[in-house]
């Protein structure tokens, strides 16, 4: 349910961007979200229209890229895929690892335009 807070923060960023670029409509928004960010992409998609209503981003297409959970093993140096609740090295099985992907919560890319109003 904190996805709505995240959406409000996103809309604030989009409005700032649109203002800086003198755009009045946002067409496309791409987010990068890792499973360990604590944000559920599906809930974010559902919250988005509520937060975007009446803003420049109201009709934007929202795309969410879910990044894989990957760890770097401090013990053996291998890089491997992991799961959210088992961040252990797939090569040697050690738990002394560092996360290299999977906790992102990023606004990656925006497409925006200036539309002239028809009177």
């Amino acid at each position: 349910m904190h996805e709505l807070s995240v959406c409000h923060a996103l809309i604030t960023q989009l409005e700032t961007l649109a203002k800086a670029q003198a755009a009045n409509r946002i067409l496309d928004v791409t987010l990068g979200i890792g499973p360990l960010s604590g944000i559920e992409p599906r809930l974010l998609e559902q919250a988005y229209p509520l937060a975007a209503a009446g803003t420049v981003a109201e009709h934007a297409q929202l795309t969410i890229q879910v990044s894989p959970v990957r760890v770097h093993c401090i013990t053996c140096g291998a890089e491997s895929e992991a799961s959210v609740s088992r961040l252990v090295c797939a090569q040697c099985g050690d738990w002394h690892t560092r996360l290299i992907s999977g906790d992102e919560l990023l606004l990656l890319h925006v497409e925006l335009t200036r539309e002239t109003e028809c009177v």
């Binding site: 791409t30 944000i39 959210v84 609740s85 992907s101 906790d103 990023l106 606004l107 925006l112 335009t113």
Partner: protein
């Protein structure tokens, strides 16, 4: 995280920006911008502001998280009783409704600010900022932030704290760290509370709980605490004091202290080989 030096581009997302990557193409007539900005940057800026606010007065701040009823307030009451004469303690309480917890803390003779979030499931840096202005920070050595009882949402918001503590009570079961990895991964210390219930809830394995925490690549100590029998309480108090000494040493060097795992900053700024 920063948005100027390109450190937001990591091994994990660089491919998206490369030629032919999913983010390179633009739709016709539209302007495309690559942003790579953290979605919670507004919260994170407020958290940084809080942290410098706290550091100016050397107020060591612990963010205490757990599910509702795991014993956060009871642990704070016991901590105030044990350390209250040596250190000036203050508490920020987060709940959806009521002043109940703040009143329990005030009854121990310690200032407590209650934040009632209404329907919000977590505290954020802005709420903490307002609460900090209601406290006399010059008269505080240790500040505890008792987050809203919830194992999901509080993990995603930096408040400006120096250490994260996540509690897990015996009745919840030993596999909570596996079920709620985000919040247990963020812990600098995991406290297993209500250990006096172990004899009646025999299916809780302390060994398994510790293994689940380790499987999150988290080296945080796992302490066993009962505020009722006071078993293990001293280990917790020792940890708090040791962390406070470490924090004060940081302050003297003009540095701050951050929880071992931060959602973004630490990882992004670490040199990825």
């Amino acid at each position: 995280m920063c948005d100027t030096c390109g450190c937001n581009v990591t091994k994990g997302n660089r491919h998206l920006l490369a030629p032919g990557g999913k983010l390179e193409k633009t739709s016709q007539g539209a302007q495309a911008i690559t942003v790579l900005k953290n979605l919670l940057s507004e919260n994170d800026i407020a958290a940084m502001h809080n942290r410098s606010h706290l550091d100016r007065q050397a107020v060591f701040t612990i963010n205490l998280m757990s599910s509702p009823g795991a014993g956060k307030t009871a642990l704070l009451e016991a901590t105030i009783e044990a350390l209250g004469e040596r250190y000036r303690i203050a508490v920020i309480e987060g709940d959806l409704e009521t002043e109940n917890d703040a009143e329990r803390i005030r009854a121990k003779g310690v200032p407590a600010i209650q934040i009632t979030t209404g329907t919000a499931c977590h505290l954020d840096a802005h709420m903490i900022h307002d609460a900090l202005h209601r406290l006399n920070l010059a008269a505080v050595d240790i500040l505890f932030v008792e987050n809203v009882g919830n194992l999901v949402c509080p993990a995603s918001f930096d408040l400006g704290q120096h250490r994260n503590v996540t509690l897990l009570s015996i009745p919840e079961g030993d596999d909570k760290p596996a079920k709620y990895p985000v919040i247990f991964r963020a812990a600098d210390l995991v406290g297993v509370t209500k250990t006096d219930l172990l004899p009646v809830l025999g299916d809780f394995s302390m060994e398994r709980a510790k293994q689940y925490v380790q499987a999150l690549a988290n080296a945080a100590p796992v302490l066993e605490i009962s505020t009722r029998t006071e078993a293990g309480l001293q280990d917790w108090l020792d940890w708090v004091e040791k962390a406070l000494i470490e924090y004060r040493a940081c302050c003297e060097r003009g540095e701050s202290l951050r929880p071992a795992i931060q959602p973004d900053g630490a990882r992004l700024h670490a040199a990825v080989p």
